[in-house]
Structure formats: structure tokens, C-alpha cells
């Protein structure tokens, strides 16, 4: 490693495994620093291709997204190659892959000639895999930051992912412009704390790196300290180590050999390990109490002996940094940093809403269901209640359509209607269309809707109209004679009356069943009785003008609405007006149409063609 600067104001990165927030934070940082080009050149994301919209200040920009070409796992190599080819200027690879795939994708990235630095965020990458990355990086002059890290930052130039947290914090720590301090730590969480501390007592950070808490980090504390030593703008270094491992000793060696010419303030945390009786594993994988050599006390002493400024406790670290910095100022080593005012970053709508600063109107309103929270609910009834209480489809319809729990006799009636209307053989127009479509090789949804689209005034749509006319006539107190003759004058056939086959002496079984059910369970059947009076009158005119199934359902549904006592008059008018009853037919018949589709597919029926013989060709 060694050599100097890793990043500049022109550094661009490829971001692997898209995460909205870290990328947006990188772009916000860029804007804050007055960068001209965004620091993310491209995104590599499984399963998505095209462009990702993100903000660059007030403007939206589109960043190219490169995807795997297929679902074959090893194809991530192909997409990394493609992305590197498309963005030859991007030399940093920011890897947000999971611990399972982080090593393989990092290796693939490192093998690209354009990539110089790989930052691995995932925690839990196997040691042996990281060792392969370290070996490859060493022999090919690449730099690995992480695994198990938040990344790093060069103030005023380039930032990796979530490093340094919120924009407020970045402004607070003056990370939008370079200071004079090089900082390196193991802990990613503590790096942000130290950016703050350092900003409080010096002119701020020049560059900060968190190497990650693993046993074998891709690059070490001393790697970065030696690199900082070669960067002229860095005037002093701050190092935050941790118990476990021997990495700090390579820094001790470098100090002893005089390889570091700038002051180093260091602290190794973990002095508390001796309070534990047995061996302990702290939060980081590498932070494990072991031999005396690996203890915080021994490392602090060794660093002190080698010439680093080592305070007596973490609490005194800030003072030690301050003192060291002030000495450099006195010695004239530090030129004052010109202060700049960063441009304001517009706040995201979501966070502004969260903090109560702004409000925004919604664009959709919904009153029947809610999928937020522990479990979805229908009209306020949680899914578990629906299952535990043994609700049926009728109850679910009652919740989602009528927004209330209707009594069981009502929901059972709804279920009976659905069962009766589910199918009416292959010859009716809806089923016929579905069959033709299915045989044309179309998918389920296409076949289903081609049947559904047939439903209308002549096919299946009579229930609604029947309900409207029966209700209107009954409510206005018209006698069957007045009603039927009135319709006739207007030239309208009475919907719900009449059948192609059924006669007065051969009633529709379905109508009889519905009437029997209603007589047994409904508190009142006044609309049905009215419909029967109408039928009596129409039968006197022609033998086939019987009450059909549409008419029966329509009149009985009016009785259900009026007799259950659960609907106001206004609500009943609305239900009839909107056309709820047609919904009942659409829902029911979908069952049959889906059945016809499956039937045709199962029978492997070929394309349907209507025979010539069955067409009258005429002029």
C-alpha cells in the first residue's frame, strides 16, 4: 500500500447492490462540496436495469443501472465487467452485497483494470475469503477498505456510502471542506464520533477511514497512517485502535523505524477487558480478549513507547488531539483553512414530514382495508379473526363491499348467489369468448377478461336493472299492472322477468331454492313478494314470462338490504345505484370462466375457427 491520496474531487464510484439512502447521501455530500460530477457513476443491481432517479441538489439526475444479464449467479461478474466498461473513469467499487456474496463480487471488481479501491460494507465475510482479497490486492496494487465497515471520507472530495451520517452532521463536522487531520479507526460507528471530536478541537478532517472490525481487515491502521504520511495536506494523524489482533504493532514498528514524520495521536480501546474473568468477544469480530500482547493496555503502552501521543483514557483523547494540533499551529505548520459556506441541501419530503415541518396532501384515499401493522385487516377486522372465527367468502364480501359484518343468514345468501351464478355452461357468450381466447393460446388473465368483457346489458347485467326497477316501482306504490304497462309504454322489457326455456309449469329450480331460503331466514320478503305479483301479472300475458334467477336475486337482495336493519335508506339507494349486484355476478362468473380456461388448456384444444357452413355469406 502506502503511496498517497486515494480519492479526489473527481473520484467516481460504482455502487454494487443498490441502496437508496447511502447513494443519495453520497450525492448530497457531492453537492455540499460543490463537486461538478456526482460521485456515483453507475449502479450494479441484481434484477433491475435502466436508470435510477436520484437528487443532485434540487435537480433530479438519472444514474445508469447495470443488471445481471440473467439469474445465473456467476453472471454478476458479467455485469461488473459491463459496468466497468461503461464507466472507465470510475475507480472505486462500493460493495453493499451481503456477507454471502461480498467476497466473490469484490474479487470480480478488483480484477477489472479500471478499479483501484474496493470498499466492502458487509459484516460477517468469512476470514478465508477476505484473505484471498488481501493477497490479490497486495500483488496487484489495489486497496481494500473493510469488510465490516461504513467506509471512509475525504473531506470536500469523496465519501463512501453512509460514512459521516446525516447532512446536518457533515455540516457540523465541516466535512465539506478539507482540514489537516488524517484519521483511521477500526470501528465505523466511532469514526463518526471522532469526526465530530476532531472538528471540535482542530481545523477538521482531511481524510478519515474506518478499516472495519474484522480479525483481518483488507487494509490496516498502519497502511493508512503510512499513506497519510505521504499526503502533504495531512499534518497530523489520529488513530483509534481496539483490543484483539496485532495490527497496532505494525504501526508501532513503523513509528520505531522513523517511517512516520507527522505527529500521531492514538488510543486503543478495550482496557475494560481485564474486568472480565473469562475470554470475551466484544461487539466486533476482531475485538476478542486473548493474550497480553493483544490487550489494549499493552498496545497503548507500545504506541506510547514508540513515540505516539497516547492519552490516559478515551476521555482524554480529545484533549490530546487539541494539544497536538495547537502545537502544530504554534509551530506554523498549519495554514488557516479558508472557510466556505456550503450550499443548502433541500430536505427530503419524507424526513420533513416525519419531523413535522411540512405537510403534503395524499393522492389516494381508501376505507376498506389496511395492510400496515402486524396483519392485514378488512374493514377493521384483522385477518386472524377472519380465519379463527371461520368466516366465509360471503363474510369477506360483506366486509370489503359493505364495510360491515352482516349476519350469517345474509352472508350465506351472498354465498348461495355466487354458487348459483358461478357458471352456466360453455354456450353462453361469456364462456364462449373465454374458450375461444384460451384456445388462441392466450394466458389465464386474457382468457378470463375476454369472457368478463361480454357482461353487460344483454348478458348477465340484468340483476342491477331488475333491482332498480322493482325498487322504484314498489317504493312508489305502483301496482304490478301499472308497473308492467308503464314499462311497456316506455318500450322497456321488464328486467328479471322472462326465460328462454322455463315456463309457468316448469319453474327455474334456482329461483325456487332462493325463495325457499329467504322464506326460512329473512325477516321480511316484501320486494320478493312484489316481484311474484309482477310475475303473476306477466304470466297472464305469456307463459314464458316467469321470474328468472336475475329477478329473484335482485328482489331478494333488496329484502336483504332493507330487512337486515343494517343499512339506511340512503345507503340502499347508493348500493343499487352504484351497481353492487352486477359485481356479484362478475365475481361469481369469474369462477366459471377460470374453470373454462383451465379446461381448454388441460384438453390442449387447438385454435378455434368458426366453420364456413355456419355463416350465411350474403350481399
Amino acid at each position: 500500500m502506502a503511496t498517497g491520496q486515494l480519492f479526489s474531487r473527481n473520484t467516481q464510484a460504482l455502487f454494487y447492490n443498490y441502496k437508496q439512502l447511502p447513494v443519495q447521501r453520497m450525492l448530497d455530500f457531492d453537492f455540499l462540496c460543490g463537486r461538478e460530477a456526482p460521485s456515483v457513476a453507475g449502479i450494479i443491481n441484481p434484477g433491475a436495469e435502466g436508470f435510477q432517479k436520484l437528487f443532485f441538489g434540487q435537480e433530479e439526475i438519472a444514474i445508469p443501472v447495470h443488471s445481471r444479464s440473467s439469474n445465473i449467479f456467476s453472471d454478476f461478474i458479467y455485469s461488473i465487467e459491463a459496468a466497468c466498461g461503461a464507466h472507465p473513469s470510475a475507480d472505486v467499487f462500493i460493495n453493499f452485497a451481503s456477507f454471502r456474496s461480498a467476497a466473490a463480487s469484490s474479487m470480480a471488481a478488483m480484477k477489472q483494470p479500471t478499479i483501484r479501491v474496493v470498499a466492502i460494507i458487509a459484516e460477517g465475510v468469512p476470514e478465508a475469503d477476505t484473505k484471498q482479497l488481501i493477497a490479490y490486492a497486495r500483488s496487484n496494487n489495489k486497496v481494500v477498505i473493510g469488510p465490516a465497515t461504513v467506509g471512509g471520507i475525504q473531506a470536500g472530495a469523496f465519501k463512501i456510502g453512509d460514512t459521516a451520517g446525516t447532512i446536518d452532521n457533515i455540516i457540523q463536522c465541516k466535512l465539506y471542506r478539507p482540514g489537516s487531520v488524517g484519521f483511521v479507526s477500526k470501528s465505523g460507528g466511532m469514526s463518526n464520533e471522532l469526526y465530530n471530536t476532531i472538528a471540535r478541537v482542530t481545523d477538521g478532517i482531511y481524510e478519515g477511514i474506518a478499516i472495519g472490525g474484522d480479525v483481518f481487515p483488507g487494509s490496516t491502521l498502519s497502511d493508512h497512517v503510512l499513506r497519510f504520511n505521504n499526503i502533504p495536506q495531512v499534518k497530523m494523524m489520529v488513530v483509534l485502535g481496539e483490543l484483539g489482533g496485532r495490527d497496532e504493532y505494525s504501526l508501532v514498528e513503523a513509528l520505531k523505524k522513523g517511517k512516520v514524520h507527522k505527529p500521531v495521536v492514538a488510543w486503543v480501546s478495550g482496557t475494560c477487558a481485564r474486568l472480565f474473568k473469562s475470554e470475551v468477544q466484544f461487539g466486533h469480530a476482531g475485538a476478542k480478549s486473548g493474550g497480553e500482547m493483544e490487550s489494549a493496555q499493552a498496545k497503548n503502552q507500545a504506541l506510547r513507547d514508540a513515540g505516539a501521543v497516547v492519552p490516559t483514557s478515551y476521555e482524554a483523547l480529545e484533549g490530546a488531539i487539541k494539544e497536538t494540533f495547537e502545537k502544530l499551529v504554534e509551530e506554523g505548520e498549519i495554514a488557516p483553512v479558508p472557510e466556505v459556506t456550503p450550499p443548502p441541501i433541500p430536505e427530503d419530503l419524507s424526513s420533513a414530514i416525519k419531523s413535522g415541518k411540512v405537510r403534503a396532501p395524499t393522492h389516494i384515499i381508501s376505507t376498506i382495508s389496511d395492510e400496515r401493522g402486524e396483519e392485514p385487516s378488512y374493514a377493521g377486522v384483522p385477518m386472524s379473526t377472519i380465519v379463527e372465527k371461520g368466516y366465509g367468502v360471503g363474510d369477506v364480501i360483506s366486509l370489503l363491499w359493505f364495510k360491515r359484518s352482516l349476519p350469517r343468514y345474509c352472508t350465506q345468501f351472498i354465498e348461495i348467489c355466487i354458487m348459483l351464478c358461478a357458471d352456466h355452461g360453455p354456450c353462453v357468450s361469456g364462456a364462449h369468448n373465454t374458450i375461444v381466447t384460451a384456445r388462441a393460446g392466450k394466458d389465464l388473465v386474457s382468457s378470463l377478461v375476454s369472457g368478463l368483457l361480454t357482461i353487460g346489458p344483454r348478458f348477465g347485467g340484468a340483476i342491477d336493472d331488475a333491482a332498480r326497477y322493482f325498487k322504484d316501482a314498489y317504493d312508489r306504490g305502483l301496482s304490478p299492472y301499472e308497473f308492467v304497462e308503464g314499462m311497456k309504454k316506455k318500450g322497456i322489457r321488464v328486467p328479471g322477468i322472462g326465460h328462454r326455456i322455463k315456463r309457468a309449469d316448469n319453474r327455474d329450480k334456482r329461483v325456487e331454492m332462493l325463495q325457499k331460503y329467504a322464506h326460512t331466514h329473512f325477516p321480511s320478503v316484501k320486494y320478493m313478494e312484489y316481484a311474484v305479483q309482477v310475475e303473476t301479472y306477466t304470466l297472464s300475458k305469456a307463459n314464458n314470462l316467469v321470474l328468472n334467477v336475475d329477478g329473484a336475486i335482485a328482489s331478494l337482495f333488496l329484502d336483504l338490504l332493507a330487512g337486515s336493519g343494517m343499512f339506511t335508506k340512503q345507503e340502499i339507494d347508493e348500493i343499487v345505484d352504484i351497481g353492487y349486484l352486477n359485481g356479484l355476478f362478475v365475481l361469481a362468473r369469474s369462477i366459471g370462466l377460470i374453470g373454462h380456461t383451465f379446461d381448454q388448456k388441460r384438453l390442449k384444444q387447438p385454435l378455434y375457427r368458426h366453420p364456413w357452413e355456419d355463416v350465411l355469406y350474403t350481399k
Binding site: L21, F99, R100, E123, G124, V125, P126, E127, A128, K131, Q132, I134, A135, Y136, S139, V150, A164, G165, T166, N169, Q172, K186, S187, G188, G189, M190, N192, E193, N196, G213, V215, F216, L240, E242, L243, S269, G270, T271, C272, L275, F276, K277, S278, E279, V280, Q281, F282, G283, H284, A285, A287, K288, A296, T312, S313, Y314, E315, E318, S351, S355
Partner: protein, 423 residues
Amino acid sequence: MARKKIREHDSKRLLKEHLKRIAGIQLEIRSAQVTESTDFAELANKEPWLSTTKLVVKPDMLFGKRGKSGLVALNLDLAQVSQFVKERLGKEVEMGGCKAPITTFIIEPFVPHHQEYYLSMVSERLGSTISFSECGGIEIEENWDKVKTIFLPTEKSMTSQTCAPLIATLPLEVRGKIEEFIKGVFAVFQDLDFSFLEMNPFTLVNGEPYPLDMRGELDDTAAFKNFKKWGNIEFPLPFGRVLSPTESFIHGLDEKTSSSLKFTVLNPKGRIWTMVAGGGASVIYADTVGDLGYASELGNYAEYSGAPNEDEVLQYARVVIDCATSDPDGRKRALLIGGGIANFTDVAATFNGIIRALREKESNLKASRMHIYVRRGGPNYQTGLAKMRTLGVELGVPLEVYGPEATMTGICKQAIDCIMTAA
């Protein structure tokens, strides 16, 4: 997380199974595990060799120097082994300053031998170190100058040439066999993601390598690759680390979530308790209380990180508060709810769980005269800190709140000053 020691029984099981698979070497070793739940008759049924051979028995507890401590018994029959175990199972021993009961033994055939070889493999940053000696056994440390070591860089593979310096001085008739063995063991070491492996000693039985004593350490982050190869592997706690019921509750919680929840009681009568966000920061809070001279008052080490959800934080905080407030003695106590400046964790969201727990435990907090100190920064910290301040007023419990403008560990000093002032 990370490097975990495994029992000798498991080390040998893995070696035997995979040396055969990878290198075609059949080891004639056998071992049986004995714990509190073992029925000797049943065990003898399952492992008939136990009744037909003379046996060795020793604790399998992740500590060494068992021979030197008189915990190894040789040349016994099964009845004598059973007696040996009965006398020692569950009895406390002291090893390296840790006192704990022995819970697990390993039984193996007794193998009389003269030659004792030493072999170890250690995974290091740039490669692996392999050490070998013809003078192994319990005197290995006295004979350390006879140990030969090679360093094999990650990018190099193990060949006869790289192995040569280890075995150069061996008599010709065993050299080939041992070279083949070392190469085979190294292949297993790499294939199974061992980070450490040691045989001290192994010997030759009928000219074939035979490990007598073995230690192993696996990289548990590689578990997702080794599920099948490792089989039903156990990662015991380090010797001497006996979990209290509260600690094992948190340990169980930790294993169920993707976030990290750690809790260790250091001194149940301590008066300074911590509940800190972040792996790095949590260590520093414990350090600071110690570095300021009040290690003896530190009740616990506690860390939560990786965005645990509200319910997990609630359960976690309940346990910490219960321990911190137990057995009030009339003297003041302090609870540090600390943390650095988070990079991406929503502070207000994690505080919700803590606040619920504090509210539930109001009377305990008052009875133990708890003073609460909060310090935290990061996304949405203003909301989180404001909620804490409101809670302090609402409960009437002394509660001080600081943000990123204050130093991270300043509240340690405040807590110490608080509990040390009279009244």
C-alpha cells in the same frame, strides 16, 4: 461471530470425516462424548469399542494443560471411566484464573505410544503458519526450539517443496507418510474454514498417523458455506463463562435476530450500569468507567447495534434495567444510556423501546434511586433526545440528556460524581 473454539470431540470428528473425503486418508481414531445426560449403558451399546478396549478419559472443555492438572486418566476400563467421570462431572475446577464446573468429557481408546509429534496450523492475515515438531507432548513448551515452522502465503498452495522444511530431519521411513498427513490436514483446515488447529501430540500406530490430542477453532462467519460439512457443530462458551439466567435470555435474543445484543454482568452489586449503542462505543464506555478508577462499581457490559426493532430493544432494556435496579440498598445508582453519533441508525426509533421499558420499570428505578444519563447523536437524534427529556419529567426520575455537542463519555464522569456524593 468470528473465530470460535470447538470441542476436541468435534475437531476429531471433522478431521476424520473430511481427511477421508479430501485426501483419502483413513484415521483409525474413535471418540465418545459424555455429558450430564449420558447413559453409560446406552453409550456402550452405540459404541461397542468402549467395552472391548482400554480407555482414556479427559475433560473436553476448551482448556489445555489437562495432563499437567491431573485431569487425564489412562488405561481404564469402562466402569473405571464411569467412576472417574462421576467423581468429576459438575465439579468446579480452576483453570487460568477461571473457576467453573466440568460438564463434558471425551473418551477414547488408550493407545500406548513412544513417539509424540506436534502439528499446528494458524490462519494469519497474509497466509497460514504451519508448525511441526518431532518432540511433541506435554513438554512442547520446553522443547519449543525444536519446532519447525513454515509460512505459506495465501496465494501459494501446499506442495512437497513448501512442506519440506518441516520434515527434513525425519527418518526416511516415516517422512512420506507424515508429509502426506500434513498436506491432507492442511487441505481439511482450508476446506472447512478452520482458523486454528493443533495436534499435540499425534503419533503413528502401525505406521499410520493417529491424533491423540486435538484443538480446533472455526471461523463461524463461514457457517453458510459449511452447513453440511460441519454437521451438528457446537460452539461452546469459553471455559469459565457461565451465563446467568438474564445473560442467557439476552444471548437467546441475540441468536434470533440479525442485530447484535450483548449483555454481561460484571458485578451484580455495581452501581454504574450501561446500555450502549454500537460495538466500538460500548467498549469505550466500559473502559472509561474503569480508566476513571471505578471499575469496581461497573455493573455490566452491554451493547446493542445493527438496528434492532422496537420490541427487541424493549425486551433487552427490560433485562438491563431489572439487573441495574435489583436489591436496592438505599445508595444512589446510575444508568448510562450512551452511544456515539450514529451513521444511519434512527435514534428516535431505537429509543422508543428503551423508553417503554423505563416507563414500565418506573417504581424499580425510583426504589433503587437510579439517575439516568443519556448521550447520543445521529439520524433523528433531536426527536429521540426530546422524548427522553419528556420521559424524565413525566416519571420524576433524575434524567439528563446530551447530544453530539457533548463528549461521548462525559456522562461517565457525571455518573461517578453522582453515585459518590453522599445522600
